[in-house]
Amino acid sequence: MQTYYSDLLVVGAGLAGERMAIEAAVNGFDVICLSIVPARRSHSSAAQGGMQAALGNSVMGEGDSPDVHFADTVKGSDWGADQECARLFVENAPIEMRQLCAWGVPWNRVQAGKDYYFKGGERFEKEEKKEKEGLITARNFGGTAKWRTCYTSDGTGHAVMCTLDNRAAQLGIRIMDRKEAIALIHDGSVCTGAVVRCLRTGQLEVFRAKATAMATGGFGRIYKATTNAVICDGGGHIIAMDTGVVPLGNPEAIQFHPTGIVPTDILVTEGCRGDGGTLLDVNEERFMQIYEPEKAELASRDVVSRRMTEHMRAGKGVPSPYGEHLWLDIRHLGDKHISTKLREVDDICKHFLAIDPRVQLIPVRPTQHYTMAGLRTNKDGACYGMKGLFAAGEVACWDMHGFNRLGGNSLAETCVAGGIVGKKIVEFLQGYEVSFGTKEAHDAVAKQQDRINALIKRRNGGENVYEVRGILQQAMMDHCFVFRNHEGLSKCIDILQEALGRARKVGLTSDGKGVNHELAAALKLEGQIKLGLCIAKAALERTESRGSHNREDYPERNDRDWLNRTLAVWPEGADMPSLSYEDATKVFELPPGDRGYGGGKIIPADPAKISGKSAVEAGNENGEDAKSGGAKSGSKKKS
């Protein structure tokens, strides 16, 4: 058995994965990063818009600070966020942007002088200051009080991915692509590596490490219509949940992006609306300002997606052979802006819609985009329930996003949290030793080899993997989408229960030899259906509407009963997840209130419960992080 050893094994080589790897490597630890695709193809590279950080260099960001960013983030989360993590994030974000700059990211910079911009289809003027010229600039994004999103054209994820991967190459980190972790090696309480299927040969290999860090991104692919890359299939969540002890935090918190294109579901960036693009209905009229007078198109994503759905339900959708949609209008932004700052959007329109966004409207509708749901970790990024297992980025529920994340906050999170968790992993590794038993590796490999043999020999049956997966993907669209209700969610659970039974009887049609994709799909099918069941069950239990979780039968946000986080674990051999709950946050810097957009009624929490936790000085116990939050605004104000 081919066996590799390292101090740290990172599963996933997107931004969060490589950022953790870099932190460990510069501190002298031996790191291996696994990736199912060459690192730069990771889905991080598809993020177009940018990274939020309160640098405040643009004139439109004047007066910004980590405190303002914090308030935006917590409001955006509909008070579902862990406020300690949100604070760590906003304080470190500006520092991380400068770190990335030093490593080579070609951030767009402030250009002094007068310029114009669009908002709500109207043209306004701004004048950037001479003393800020050449510093990192920012664009506007939804749900924010200031222009705060640092960017590189509309290829921010790509540019940062190139930079981090370059840095990893410089440090000599072993980035091994076409390797898929299919099980963790553990004894029920300590993780010591992974069983990995080589996607060049199909062979199983063993990777042992003192610490293992998950950075495998989201799991949008369990939905039929998603903006996610085909690799965002939940593989990382599945192997962590398979331990039976690591919980998924807030499975019901799934984001639907307002502007997936129709058909093909490819994303066009929120930068389109941030830069002044508008949403139009069947009559080619704006409508968002009717629902959201204050923020209009730039309310948070959950709200815009909900309002778009309401508007289509009111008969204002544009009919098409691919179902109803609305229009995104960026015509007024002009050729220069579209050719430089929205270049990927231009390319996508040309290649996938055969339209020119300078003169034509872009067909869009809410599409699955992001999983706030993820492996629940503490603020150090350590997974609950399993020593030596960490997670960062979209795979994790760290949890700064709560029930809705803001555009530009997740791409920033990959690097900011990657850096913070990377440092914590370094602390963990210092002085930590572990014994690698050969038996536990042998047993783990034997178990996986047996699963593979059963699929190839059709020992459990001949169900078709793609057919069963299709049932899952359709059920998620039908019942776990923008709006949810008791009846639909109950039905969804029934459908998925049946699908789970069928998934356990899948057999391959092909021979499974070498890098066989049918086998890869079959290996994770059961786990994907379990993820779907976690979403449906958690959504059914949560009898309120919060952020992206909208219950038609419970439209109020209920802080009295539901100001908490769902934790779903899947005990071995069970047919349903078991759910428990923890408080949304240990500390309330910002007590629950009105977001200022989205409307809706709030059932207030018991004031004693909130004030008991609003210890202003609680903040960071670990001086290290507090120190690194150098961005001048150290005080933890309540706003």
Partner: protein, 265 residues
């Protein structure tokens, strides 16, 4: 009713001792807005689950799905079937090692390239990220990004006459990478340093100027300009190294032209 598309697909699974390289025929009815991403996935899910090919972002952003489509390297995800004849012939990219059917190993090739070109910022400055960042003109940032847009799909290497003849040729992707760092003021490498990397027949002097690279680049990178610029610049560096006195002559007097990334088109 759409057209009946005939696919001729290269098949070979190196992991199967019984497999022999061959072409295999499939048929599929064309649907509206069908891309090769849709078509190939339908073939795999409905007709032949043993088919090996790669997709990732399926939006023309990540570069995973490059293959030879009716004789021309391109990204399968953004290839619409309506722009192709009813018979669509698919081969894996040449030059790169075959993984199976239409899938090739670009990952190892490009990681070697990062090491050859030392694809990172070389600087002796110690930067404290707690302090304000160094300023840069926005125009310079845009010039860097223009060249940073490479998605490492491998099309330029597959379409390169020199790369087909010599294994050690760095190809347009690597030369473009060098150009990216030459424009970046944060990188302190000198012209002599860059000459060390690309001043050979495996580097810029191996380019025969056929420019297939630019023709097939799915991101329309200005490869022709870059190769021309590097060739002149490295040529002069070579002469300067031979005749040290020339080093005192200002480059602009030699009329090597002004470097405009993306210009000239």
């Amino acid at each position: 009713m759409g057209r009946k598309l005939q696919f001729e697909i290269f098949r070979f699974n190196p992991q199967d001792p019984l497999s022999v390289p061959r072409m295999q025929t499939y048929f599929l009815e064309e649907t509206d807005k069908m891309t090769l991403y849709i078509a190939l996935n339908r073939l795999r899910e409905e007709q032949d689950p043993s088919l090996i090919f790669d997709f990732c972002c399926r939006a023309g952003i990540c570069g995973a799905c490059a293959m030879v489509i009716n004789g021309r390297p391109g990204l399968a995800c953004q290839t619409q079937t309506k722009d192709q004849p009813a018979k669509i012939i698919l081969h894996p990219l040449p030059v790169f090692k075959l993984i199976g059917d239409l899938s090739v190993d670009t990952g190892v090739w490009f990681r070697e390239m990062y090491n050859k070109t030392e694809s990172w910022i070389h600087t002796n400055k110690v930067i404290d990220p707690h302090q304000q960042e160094e300023r840069m003109e926005n125009e310079v940032a845009e010039q860097i990004y223009e060249l940073e847009r490479c998605i490492e799909c491998g099309c330029c290497i597959a379409a390169c006459g020199t790369a087909r003849m010599r294994d050690d040729f760095m190809g347009a992707a690597a030369l473009n990478r060098i150009a990216r760092f030459m424009v970046d003021p944060r990188d302190e490498r000198s012209e002599d340093d860059f000459f060390e990397v690309i001043g050979t027949d495996a580097g810029i002097f191996g380019c025969m100027g056929l420019l297939g690279c630019e023709d097939v680049c799915p991101k329309q990178l200005p490869l022709q300009n870059q190769l021309g610029y590097l060739r002149r610049k490295m040529g002069i560096t070579a002469v300067k190294q031979l005749v040290p006195a020339l080093g005192k002559i200002k480059l602009d007097k030699l009329k090597i032209g002004k470097f405009i990334p993306g210009g000239d088109k």
